[in-house]
């Protein structure tokens, strides 16, 4: 009996050993809203080109993506490769979860084809590159060209023009005493920090420095933004709770004349509004402009036992046609120069607005607290300020405390 058990055990070990030698398995986590995504085609293409490596791709729902990723790291069983955004980089570094890619990238022949700015934007605070760019977007202003023309409003380039445009386009179109169109569709729920940052940060507010948000200019800028809702009433009344589907839905339905989002929603906007929708870079502040760089990269985890195979997959996704395929499905922009050159998926006016915005596209502070800023601190404080429960200064003080206390 004992001998039987021993031989079964030995057999199992042998088998497992063979398995490991013959084939390396790379576990890949990604999130894709579009169920019709190209991952399985890309996986089989990769497996054909790289015999001996198997990709086990798992689509993780976005709402709990980082919760799952963080717990898998703490539990000691993270994937080998995962799709990641820049705001998560500081926390992942703090946890020692990532494997630096610099050596792999140095000897990778696709390196020169990646847009140069993306290497810079993706660099970690310790000077290393842990992230391989996968797709990107830049936020810009969507506006209703027809309404602008009809009411003789010009596309705003600064805050004053923006306020004037928003006021003129807050309209009671059928004279029943109720407002039917609001000037700006503001996102007050999670994810709306980009709207706020565009109007507050480039006006003497420095979120990277202790006390940088508490200058008189910063407080005035925040008050100006809150007044758009409380005094000028150019946001829909539901703005404090509005998220992605409300701001894009409201704009498509003609309930708002402007909003801020990226090229990923342009196909839907055009489908709903045709030529009536156009795009421009966001209005400037007193010290230049600020818009959000929206990113998605892939990273290799330090716990991975198959790092070389993992990098091959990472590099595969960010090169040539593969990256183009990926972005056709995600609706964002390819990270390669070759892919961008012949990009035809989006209408030109949206690509132009994106490219024109790249020079002032920024990211939030590369600090671990940014996750909490995005996830709960900003939405809660913004909502309370929009509702008049706290002042513009209190809101900024709470954010300053989050980052520096």
């Amino acid at each position: 009996m004992r001998r039987l058990i021993a031989s079964v055990f030995a057999g199992a070990l042998l088998f497992a050993g063979f398995g490991a030698n013959a084939e390396e398995e790379v576990r890949f986590w990604f999130h894709f809203d579009n169920p019709d995504n190209p991952i399985s085609q890309l996986v089989s293409k990769f497996e054909q080109e790289n015999p001996g490596i198997k990709i086990k791709a798992e689509n993780i729902p976005w709402n709990t993506y980082y919760e799952k990723l963080n717990t898998s790291i703490i539990g000691g069983n993270p994937p080998d490769v995962a799709m990641v955004k820049l705001f998560a980089l500081p926390q992942l570094l703090e946890m020692g979860a990532l494997h630096p890619l610099d050596d792999h990238i140095a000897s990778w022949d696709g390196k020169a084809d990646i847009q140069d700015e993306l290497w810079e934007l993706n660099r970690a605070s310790d000077g290393k590159n842990y992230y391989m760019p996968l797709q990107y977007v830049v936020l810009y202003l969507y506006y209703r060209k027809d309404l602008f023309d009809q009411h003789g409003v010009k596309v705003p380039t600064n805050r004053e023009e923006f306020l004037e445009a928003a006021k003129k386009l807050t309209l009671d179109t059928n004279n029943d005493g109720r407002i039917d169109v609001y000037g700006f569709g503001m996102r007050g729920a999670k994810g709306g920090h980009d709207h706020w940052a565009t109007f507050v940060l480039p006006n003497g507010a420095d979120i990277n420095k202790e006390g940088g948000l508490l200058t008189p200019e910063a407080i005035a800028a925040n008050q100006w933004f809150i007044d758009l809702h409380r005094v000028h009433k150019v946001f829909p009344p539901s703005a404090p709770n509005d998220g992605f589907k409300e701001i894009t839905g409201g704009f498509k339905a003609g309930r708002t004349a402007m909003t801020i989002h990226h090229i990923g929603s342009s196909a839907g906007m055009v489908e709903a509004l045709g030529d009536k929708v156009s795009a421009a870079p966001v209005p400037q502040g007193t010290q230049g402009a600020w818009t959000a760089f929206g990113d998605e990269s892939t990273a290799v985890f330090s716990a991975s036992k198959v790092k070389d195979a993992a990098f091959k997959w990472v590099a595969f996704l960010s090169s040539g046609d593969n990256n183009v395929e990926f972005n056709k499905a995600s609706g964002q922009l390819p990270v390669t120069k070759s892919g961008s050159a012949e990009w035809t998926l989006h209408e030109k006016r949206f690509v132009d607005a994106t490219v024109a915005s790249l020079p002032f596209a920024r990211t939030l502070p590369a600090k671990p607290q940014t996750s909490e800023f995005v996830g709960s601190s900003w939405p809660t404080n913004m909502q309370r300020a929009l509702l008049g429960e706290i002042s513009a200064e209190e809101m900024l003080r709470n954010i300053d405390n989050l980052y520096f206390k």
């Binding site: 946890m95 007050g188 539901s238 404090p240 509702l387």
Partner: protein, 298 residues
Amino acid sequence: MGMTPRRYRRRLPVLPYVLLSPVVLVTLVIIFYPMLQAIWMSVHDYIIWKPQDIRFNAFAHFVTAFSDEVFWISLWHTAIWISLTVSLQLALGFAAAILLNQDFPWRALARGLIIIPWALPSVVIGLMWSWVYDPNYGVLNDFMLRFGLLTQSMPWLANPDTALYAIILTLTWQGFPFFAVMILAGLQAIPSSYYEAAELDGASRRQQFWHITLPSLKGVLVTAVLLRIIWVANSIDVIYVMTSGGPGYATHTLPLYAFLRTYTAMDFGYGSALAVLFTLMLLGVVVLYLRRAGRDVT
């Protein structure tokens, strides 16, 4: 021959434990272990992205909680949440049960249909009712505007004065079938001879209700209310889907606050402490329920 009874006696006490052990083992692993872990985390600084900084802090989180404004706001909302939701569900469920206990055509169909809200997943209910309340397209605003009850459409979920109550109404709708079904079963268990006897003695319908129906339902009602309090207290899914606790803190309840601290701030220590505190508060209700459940068995 004398051996058999003794051996039998020695074996007997073991068998029940053997039979129980799988259940006990599973309960220990999936309920008690996480519970102990939550208690352990609640007395530690435990922020998940700072694995180097996990250290014992005694009761610091509990002290923080008592001076945390959001804790008190959430606690107050939890009290409103539980008391209003459960009593509204009870009232609506009671009315539905009495209606369904009457004789009318298609009664079986009506009894089946009433279960629908209870059978729908909470996320579906949350999304459905967010659209009902939507200020731009919502059917509620449309109705009220048409009938002149409102002059300007109302962002029910974005207004801090109405958001919590709007969600309470949603949860009432979701949960009343539970009461309806429980009470209906209770109603049908009352022997009709009681009513016949009362009628002979000249009791009015109202007297029959107060002196026969209500006392006979007492057991069902108390059990259902206790169970419901525990469930409603812990239910965060509908709130999370509809407002995520916003605007501001307007729809924060204590379990939701614990969840948000744990998963958006990744502060497992403080989040666990909040959860432990709330568990202690609920324990009173749980004990009451267990006592009743125990009494029913014996």
